[in-house]
């Protein structure tokens, strides 16, 4: 027990939410950030399109519209009090980011530039509204860099490349974490008054994903193992436009700037599915439409992808037929240079990975696993809730993609993820520090590291009959096929059984690398264990929900069922089994209505 550390607040994860929490927590408490990557390599940096806030810089907008759009986007599963809070906080927090130095793209008058994004509308005209504040197509990169810079300025303590393997819970309170220092393989115990989980999502459960290798659901898995439930895990967003096969994300900003999706007949099929906003319908709607087009034989060259067309002539053609105008009333027209200026990175991706120049050719895209709406249940303060009565676990907080507040409900709107992580990262940081100031350290048991040792020993002494990579492949494949965009009872049941089988086989995973220094093989195996837990909870939660809502689309139950299913799923892992429970949705202003775009 040589590596003992004591901090008032320990933050697990160095992405947008973790860094925002660190900035606020460190002002009032002794704080450390533990991150398995260098913080600037966190997945926040891959976010492209923008952060939503009703600044109204370029045309009329207000937080009420933003709130309603988010509620509607969530398919009425989002908690409306939390959504309203987030949309109100959006405006000051975006200004705050600007004050921190974030280099937003600018409009001609020097204000923060805004673009259109899926599901964000003028509630009066029902037309898309300019709400997404952006920095070219690297908004996430800029947020991550800016927050990291501020952390350096404020001398936040970082433990880079420390993988947290266990949360210490003493008498129902969080008391710290155990982490392995990757460079040495040494275990470190971090004793803390408050622990904030900001570990990100788990898109690596699926085969085609926009998510980083690091996105392995660590936070959800660790808390599940400590008896904390996971909320709404059946809702996982498939972004409509990932690069075919690779899954690399092509931002919705492409469609915001006027790009359109075309099927094999060259038809702009979204006109049929969402006659008002067309290509800028929310992501679940677009992904499902693409799936239906493919099913009906209109995939490009008979394959399961669509073309995304942002060539200036196409953009101008449809802008003209839509009658799209700029805020000053002049017709919306673009040139190749405009596109290049606003979307430089996605053009680079296409050139690098596809050999396709989006200014001259169309991009092959398919829905790609993208974002976890579900996660560790929290309230608006970022406090983790352990049951259906919203009981708080003292000293434990979660923020960002790993948390389920829930502001995204059954489907997240584009630009609301970056918003979520700064708004609730800040809340979690503030509250964690506040809690730390008013409480004492809970003393740790003598064997704090025993469960972690047990986890590591399992791999070190494993029989090696099974390969991590094989199990991962099988999991990704079955989840993609049966717990993806469209789901059926039969498919999901099959997936659930398969995952259970994989979990059994996982016990026979062994390691070739018996060393301590950067044993990334061990890390991969441990992460697969997390993914399997998360996949299982996802499949079980999904089979149980007998309706279609947001990202959870069932062919056997194609309609939303507000009478029976207007509730959040809670899933516990108890004795190797998944138990389900439910809790009500907070409805304040908006009664559920049919959802059309």
């Amino acid at each position: 027990m040589s590596n003992q550390h004591q901090y008032e607040v320990v933050i697990v994860g160095g992405g947008g939410a973790g860094l925002m929490a660190a900035l606020y927590a460190s002002r009032g408490a002794k704080t450390a950030v533990l991150s398995k990557l260098y913080p600037t390599r966190s997945h926040t940096g891959a976010a492209q399109g923008g952060i939503g806030a009703a600044l109204g810089n370029q045309e009329e907008d207000n937080t009420g519209w933003h709130t309603f759009d988010t509620v509607k986007g969530s398919d009425y599963l989002g908690d409306q009090d939390a959504i309203e809070f987030m949309c109100q906080e959006a405006i000051p927090v975006v200004y705050e980011l600007e004050h921190m130095g974030l280099p937003f793209s600018r409009a001609a008058d020097g204000r923060i530039a805004q673009r259109r994004f899926g599901g964000h509308t003028n509630n009066d005209t029902k037309q898309p509204v300019l709400r997404s504040c952006y920095a070219a197509d690297r908004t996430g990169h800029m947020i991550l860099q800016t927050l990291y810079q501020q952390c350096i300025k404020n001398e936040v303590t970082f433990y880079d490349e420390f993988q947290v393997l266990d949360l210490l819970v003493v008498n129902g309170s969080s008391a710290g974490v155990v982490a392995v220092e990757l460079a040495t393989g040494e275990l470190h115990t971090f004793h803390a008054k408050s622990v904030i989980f900001a570990t990100g999502g788990h898109g690596r459960v699926w085969e085609v994903t926009s998510n980083a290798y690091a996105y392995t659901g660590d936070g959800v898995a660790i808390t599940l193992r400590k008896g904390i439930p996971a909320e709404d895990m059946e809702f996982f967003q498939f972004h409509p436009t990932g690069i075919f096969k690779l899954g690399i994300l092509i931002t919705e900003g492409v469609r915001g700037e006027g790009g359109v999706l075309l099927n094999n007949d060259g038809e702009r099929f979204m006109e049929r599915y969402a006659p008002t906003v067309k290509d800028l319908a929310s992501r679940d709607v677009v992904s499902r439409s693409m799936y239906l087009e493919v099913r009906d034989g209109r995939g490009i060259n008979g394959k399961n992808y669509m073309n995304l067309d942002v060539r200036p002539e196409t953009v101008n053609k449809y802008a003209e037929s839509d009658g799209r105008v700029l805020p000053d009333g002049t017709p919306y027209r673009v040139t190749g240079d405009d596109i290049l200026e606003k979307l430089p990175d996605i053009i680079d991706f296409c050139r690098t990975y596809l050999g396709v120049d989006p200014l001259e050719q169309m991009m092959p895209v398919q829905p790609t696993a993208h974002y976890a709406m579900g996660g560790i249940p929290t309230n608006m303060a970022g406090e983790v809730l352990v049951d259906d009565k919203n009981t708080v676990m003292p000293g434990l907080y979660a923020a960002g993609e790993v948390a389920c507040v829930s502001v995204h409900g059954a489907n997240r709107l584009g630009t609301n993820s970056l918003l979520d992580l700064v708004v609730f990262g800040k809340q979690a940081g503030l509250r964690a520090a506040e809690f730390a100031q008013g409480s004492d350290f809970v003393s740790l048991p003598g064997d704090a590291e025993s469960y972690t040792h047990q986890q590591i020993d399992q791999f070190m002494n494993g029989s090696g009959k099974e390969e991590t990579a094989d199990l991962a492949k099988e999991m990704k494949s079955i989840m993609m096929e049966h717990v993806g965009v469209f789901r059926t009872e039969e498919g999901m049941t099959q997936a659930r059984e398969k995952i259970a089988e994989l979990k059994e086989r996982f016990k026979d995973v062994g390691l070739e690398d018996k060393g301590k220094v950067f044993n990334t093989e061990m890390l991969d195996a441990w992460e697969l264990g997390c993914l399997l837990d998360v996949a299982e909870v996802t499949a079980v939660s999904a089979v149980a929900r007998k309706e279609s809502r947001g990202a959870h689309a069932r062919e056997d139950f194609p309609k939303r069922d507000d009478d029976n299913w207007m509730k959040h799923t809670l899933a516990w892992m108890r004795d190797g089994k998944v138990d389900l429970g439910y809790k009500p949705v907070s409805v304040t202003k908006f009664e559920p209505q049919e959802r059309v775009y």
Binding site: R41, A469, G515, N519
Partner: protein, 235 residues
């Protein structure tokens, strides 16, 4: 198609202190990323192979290494872009910890030394954003793209010779603030870089610009900083 992957191996923990190369023959697609090949090796040939990676599409900067002799991101190079045998080696000038993993700390220390954060506490009275014209924003756009992968710094002959040289990446990040119309610490940053181990160690060898996976005009940024030191003007 068949390719041979030659990977630098080093692991003092098991007594592998003399750097050697291991070769693997793989059946691959021309459009596979080098990173995909490395994953294949790790999964099915040698689980002890260690390297860093995360986003796998060139925005996180984890997997910078020497590929066939020059610095690249393994996730941004396709098999069709290079010739077999494909040789992978760790970045030069930073201590190798294991296989392709190097100690990033000196690099991060240089980054931190140039005040890499906005210095300006004046907030408009209405609490809204500070205004900045699109032209002012464009002035430093290029250098906001840096992902701190270290490909530039470790391609620099001056850095190979003298690790005290702050390096291209740190200068790029200083440039990002020096030329931001909102920032107020340009003089301090220029003074930090106005040293033997600052911009004056740059010999315009240009490897940095060629190595940058984000296509930042690194040498240009350094030249602009040098000029600012001399002219006292940021125009």
């Amino acid at each position: 198609m068949q390719v041979t992957l030659r990977i630098f191996r080093y692991n003092p923990e098991i007594g592998r202190t003399k750097p050697t190369f291991d070769s693997y023959n793989l059946e691959v697609e021309p459009t596979d990323r080098i990173l995909d090949l490395m994953e294949e090796v790790k999964a099915y040939h040698d689980g002890t192979l260690s390297f860093r990676r995360s986003c796998a599409h060139g925005v996180c900067g984890s997997d910078a290494m020497r590929i066939n002799g020059s610095n690249k991101l393994a996730c941004k190079v396709l098999v069709q872009d290079v010739s077999s045998p494909i040789t992978l080696e760790p970045l030069l000038g930073l201590r190798v910890i294991k296989d392709l993993i190097v100690d990033m700390e000196p690099f991060m220390e240089s980054y931190r030394s140039i005040l890499p954060y906005m210095v300006n506490d004046d907030i408009p009275e209405d609490g809204k954003e500070r205004l900045q014209s699109p032209e002012e924003r464009a002035r430093f756009d290029d250098t906001t793209k840096c992902i701190l992968c270290a490909a530039c710094t470790t391609s620099c002959p001056s850095f190979w010779s003298n690790g005290e040289y702050v390096g291209p990446a740190a200068i790029v990040n200083a440039h990002r603030f020096i030329f931001d119309s909102r920032d107020k610490a340009a003089s301090e940053r220029l003074e930090i870089l106005n040293q033997r181990k600052g911009v004056w160690a740059c010999r315009t060898a240009f490897n940095c610009t060629e190595a940058c996976p984000r296509e930042i005009h690194v040498t240009q940024a350094i030249a602009e900083v040098k000029r600012a030191v001399f002219s006292g003007s940021l125009e």
